[in-house]
Symmetry: C2
Subunit: 187 residues, 2 copies
């Protein structure tokens, strides 16, 4: 017998696939962010993990999504962005989401990525990231973003990653309020 | 049918469990790092992924390990530290490796953690991280560490994470040389 675990299975909850299958094509940043925020709200309503969602879009269509699964999966790495990126790479069978031959992919996240997720974004090769709530909104809601500095964003931009912040910010902040009303745990 | 993938299975290669089962108890930092570097060399010899390994130790005993699996699993997030932390959390069924009731856990990594892994370490609650090769060694070997600054390390230390660098540094650097001699890909 192995003296330690060697396998992990990660899965989105069953309700996510039909939820996302009902998404219309989303022609612009606000439409895409609106869908991601709807996914975050749906997750909060089910009381399943932190108030965060993310999706990788190819043009108007989501090809992978993630929600925060830290508490239900007992896995501190399962931020929404981590799952969305891993599932997108699985979809394209590539560790490089900026590879030639793929459509131009964009990550939409309900909140500015934390330090871990910024690193994950850089390694994924994603060329564009759009976020909703700002770091200060997450911090006001009790969530730490970790060691992210202005130089961190410049580092990614210098490597060709386009970063857009604050899209539908008020609607994104409201997800944190909804989470508190549902008695969501901070961790 | 789901319009996108919703499940992922992550697994260490079959040879890893017997390799680690043969480890003796390791009484100090250098002994533990020596075992981790042996795991990194074994991975390079098999031509399976980048020249990096990590392990979570409870006193002298590894309770979870990871190796870099980016290329074989086509998953840019599968750094050695990511797998070691996820598997350790699975072992203890906890998203918090610093939780009361757990033994004092330490992460040993063959190389200084990149930006993503530093964030992952912070969220994991691990109280101590020991690394071998330095950032500059990884960069000389052609690997980017991402947006890690002196302030990033201070950020973790201010939250109670003890960081030790450069343990068995020369032996750790040699793994990069071995990787190049095996024709290992940079990515």
């Amino acid at each position: 017998m192995a003296p330690f675990p060697t396998r992990l299975e990660l899965a989105l909850p069953e309700w996510v696939a039909p939820h996302v299958a009902a998404w219309p094509d989303a022609p612009g940043d606000e439409a895409r962010m609106g869908l991601v925020l709807g996914l975050a709200r749906a997750s909060v309503e089910r009381g399943e993990g932190g108030p965060f969602a993310a999706a990788v879009f190819a043009a108007g269509r989501a090809i992978a999504v993630g929600i925060n699964r830290v508490l239900p999966e007992r896995n501190s790495l399962l931020h929404a962005e981590v799952l969305a990126i891993m599932l997108a790479e699985s979809h394209y069978a590539s560790h490089n989401l900026g590879a030639a031959g793929l459509p131009r992919l964009e990550l939409f996240s309900s909140c500015e990525p934390c330090a871990m997720c910024l690193g994950a974004i850089l390694w994924s090769g994603l060329p564009r990231v759009v976020s909703g709530a700002l770091r200060e909104d997450a911090e006001q809601a009790g969530f730490d973003e970790g060691p992210v500095f202005p130089a961190s964003h410049r580092y990614l931009e210098a490597r060709g990653v386009e970063l857009a912040h604050g899209v539908l910010r008020e609607e994104a902040r409201a997800v944190f309020t909804q989470y508190r009303h549902h008695g969501g745990r901070l961790y």
